[in-house]
């Protein structure tokens, strides 16, 4: 994106450069007075976790006596010392198990209990590694020079874990009085949608979803199908979700189908011609997985949103190949306003 200096601020001369982007993609925010530096802490290899654990409920879990690591303290959990120079803010934890055949391990096999440098439990009990892996909602502050303790438990009935890496990702925080605050410019997509006071004044907003299903038992191009919306409220169309399948399969997505949507004015929101296997002539649209979200909670986002006046009729072209049913929903907000003149 061509950005100008006037778009940003002094500390961050760049504007936010993609409304769909993830939070980490723009310039990193900085806190005034401190200087953060990325730093990844790793216990390089916890060696062999002897034997499998099948511990009945109520029995105290065992601390693992690892055979060979530089940092390990046998019989007293695994220790990760923090560097002594700066405090550390952990933003992500990753446990990586290495095994001769990881297909025999399950995410629930490794369970972990963590204490921070003050001896406080970070987890109330043993937790699945798969639950702990990943980013933390709030950075975890760790004092310089402190020592983390990891108690480990292998719940696999037969399979040994031959080695284990523990990695903390985060940043060291140094005092830096000259550091000024930097804003990344990141604003979540949901807050980038309309705030037009003319539209929203006196309005009541309600999450709404218009579901549609189309079926064709034969290969067919069904063009300009009307997607009738209600006439009780305007609609702010913000996303698409859906699936496609054959009649015999109501769970997984099967078969090919192409869709092309139009806004209520008939302006196509895609419809660029291409060919695909299983359909005899070029189509104008896009294939199933490229246009319909496969996660019900997270629709394929549309930015900017499309305003559909009450009773408005967006349209869709559907090219059925070997899929026989396509189901999708237009997701967004209904805008209820007081009726006038009625």
């Amino acid at each position: 994106m061509g950005a100008t200096a006037s778009s940003g601020n002094l500390a961050n001369p760049f504007p936010f450069g993609n409304p769909l982007a993830a939070p980490f993609m723009p310039v990193s925010p900085e806190v005034a007075g401190v200087r953060d530096t990325e730093w990844d802490m790793t216990i390089p290899n916890l060696g062999t976790l002897v034997s499998a654990f099948t511990i009945p409920a109520g029995v105290q879990p065992l601390a693992i006596a690892a055979a060979s690591t530089v940092l390990a303290t046998p019989n007293n959990g695994q220790q990760m010392p923090m560097d002594a120079d700066y405090d550390y803010l952990c933003r992500e934890i990753q446990f990586v198990i290495q095994d001769a055949d990881t297909s025999l391990m399950l995410p629930s096999d490794l369970r972990i209990r963590i204490r921070d440098g003050n001896g406080k439990l970070f987890t109330t009990d043993f937790c699945y590694a798969s639950d702990l892996n990943g980013p933390l909602a709030i950075p975890w502050a760790l004092k310089r020079g402190s020592v983390l303790n990891f108690d480990l438990q292998n719940a696999n009935a037969t399979q040994n874990i031959t080695s284990l890496f523990i990695t903390l990702k985060g940043w060291k925080r140094a005092i830096c009085p000259e550091q000024e605050a930097v804003s990344s410019g990141y604003i979540p997509l949901r807050r980038r949608f309309t705030t037009d006071p003319t539209l929203l004044s006196g309005a009541e907003l309600e999450d709404y979803e218009y579901p549609f299903t189309f079926t064709s038992a034969v290969m067919a191009a069904l063009l300009k199908l009307p997607l009738q919306t209600d006439n009780d409220a305007d609609f702010l169309w913000r996303g698409l979700a859906g699936d496609w399948n054959n009649p015999a399969n109501d769970v997984t997505t099967v078969g090919n189908v192409v869709l092309a949507f139009y806004d209520p004015n008939g302006t196509p929101l895609g419809s660029f011609p291409f060919t695909f296997a299983g359909f005899p002539q070029p189509v104008r649209g896009m294939l199933r997985e490229c246009i319909l979200s496969n996660g019900g909670g997270a629709p394929n986002p549309m930015y900017p949103e499309i305003f559909i006046p009450r009773g408005g009729v967006p349209q869709v072209d559907v090219y059925f190949a070997d899929a026989e049913t396509v189901r999708f929903s237009l997701r967004g907000l209904k805008v209820y306003k007081a009726q006038t003149g009625l």
């Binding site: 769909l20 892996n133 660029f272 291409f274 496969n294």
Partner: protein, 393 residues
């Protein structure tokens, strides 16, 4: 200041299985602009478990970011999607999507800077590490059009399609494929997805002292598997005759007085491709010994095989150039990173977006980074973003 997307690539298949550990591997950055590193992405093509391979890398001052060598699976943990917290299963196919993991706070490398890597346990890895970030330029230094002054009108545009036939593994790259923006509006490209176009079913017949003939279905997909080819063994003095009934092609070769087949591979290819009913089903190619007689199947109808429907594509690398010909990456970048498959809600993201005025274009180069999985007949890229009306003419 202007930011534009930049991808630096480091192939990890150049060291060989005899050199499992590599230290002081230097990645030299371009000298035209500083580089803001915002994330790293790693893809394994061989199905290696990247949890077995460890690395660390340096900041601009050459201090390490990682205290010790850390598993690649921890540094780019999306790979664990394949098997929870355990790491991906060795030998499995790589997922058809790739997301960068954040480097936070970002690191700003100077122009011409160097990033140093240490690797351990590379084994016979065929993988690629991508440094995802932005280059920082002064205004006017590079092609960087932007939105028109407000007010302007824009709509979401869900699919600009770009369709190509990717080169086979080892073949020359496909260069300078234009992506043209339509004349009605500018386009702010923000995200991408890909889908494969399927494979054509095919059948190859041949033998010693015989021509080698390939019949390939015209339309990619499993529908091609329903096509059959039968070459009969007629009596003496038969003429060449091609008949098509539905999906069944029957070829009666020309024979001499003793019943020996006279029709050569070259003659059959010409005859098949000039027979409308047959040419509508298959493309016939003589692959070798084309002056020799064609084989016969004894009249047995033999089906074409191997047709596949639309699905994910892997192992393709992509380079993108702007309207002035300046690349956004230093080498071919895994297509899974910019054009992921199967997740319309989380497509591959460009940062920042690339704004392309109407009637201008980007140019794409394609190459095959790996023979795993096999190349596809077609590759369809979906470019998503906004159409902006009222922009530059």
């Amino acid at each position: 200041m202007i930011e534009r997307p930049q991808y630096y690539n480091l192939a990890l298949n150049q060291f060989g299985s005899a050199n499992p550990s590599q230290t002081n591997i230097e990645k030299k950055l371009d000298s035209d602009a500083p580089f803001r590193l915002l994330g790293i992405a790693i893809i394994s093509y061989l199905g290696n478990s990247l949890s077995f391979t460890n690395m660390r890398m340096t900041r601009p001052d050459r201090s390490w970011i990682q205290r010790f060598l850390a598993p690649m699976t921890a540094l780019n943990p999306f790979y664990q999607d394949v098997q929870g917290a355990i790491g991906e299963e060795p030998g499995g196919a790589p997922p058809p999507f790739l997301f960068a993991s954040p480097i936070s706070p970002n690191l700003i490398y100077p122009p011409g800077g160097t990033i140093v890597f240490d690797f351990s346990n590379l084994a016979d890895t065929i993988a690629q590490l991508v440094l995802v970030g932005t280059k920082i330029f002064r205004p006017g230094a590079v092609w960087a059009p932007s939105y028109p002054p407000k007010p302007y009108r824009s709509i979401p545009f869900l699919d600009y399609a770009l369709q190509i036939t990717p080169p086979a593994f080892g073949a020359a790259p496909l260069l300078q494929v234009p992506f043209d923006v339509q004349p009605d509006a500018d386009f702010a490209w923000q995200a991408g997805q890909h889908t494969g176009g399927g494979m054509q079913a095919s059948l190859t017949l041949g033998g010693e002292a015989l021509a080698s003939i390939e019949f390939a279905a015209v339309t990619p997909g499993t529908g091609g598997d329903a096509i059959t080819v039968a070459i009969t063994s007629p009596g003496p003095l038969a003429p060449l005759l091609i008949t098509v009934v539905a999906n069944a092609i029957t070829i009666q070769p020309q024979t001499d007085g003793g019943g020996a087949i006279l029709t050569t591979g070259a003659q059959l290819a010409i005859a098949m491709n000039s027979t409308p009913a047959a040419a509508a089903l298959v493309t016939t190619i003589c692959q070798g010994s084309c002056g020799d007689p064609i084989p016969n199947t004894g009249g047995v109808a033999t089906p074409l095989t191997g047709g596949t429907n639309v699905g994910p594509t892997g192992g393709i690398g992509i380079r993108i150039r702007d309207w002035n010909g300046k690349y956004y990456m230093d080498d071919f970048t895994p297509i899974e990173l910019i054009f992921g498959f199967a997740h319309a809600q989380t497509p591959g993201l460009l940062y920042p977006e690339i704004y392309i005025p109407k009637n201008q274009a980007l140019y794409f180069d394609f190459s095959t980074l790996s023979n795993i999985p096999a190349a596809v007949a077609e590759l369809t890229l979906s470019l998503k973003g906004q159409k902006v009306y009222g922009g530059q003419s």
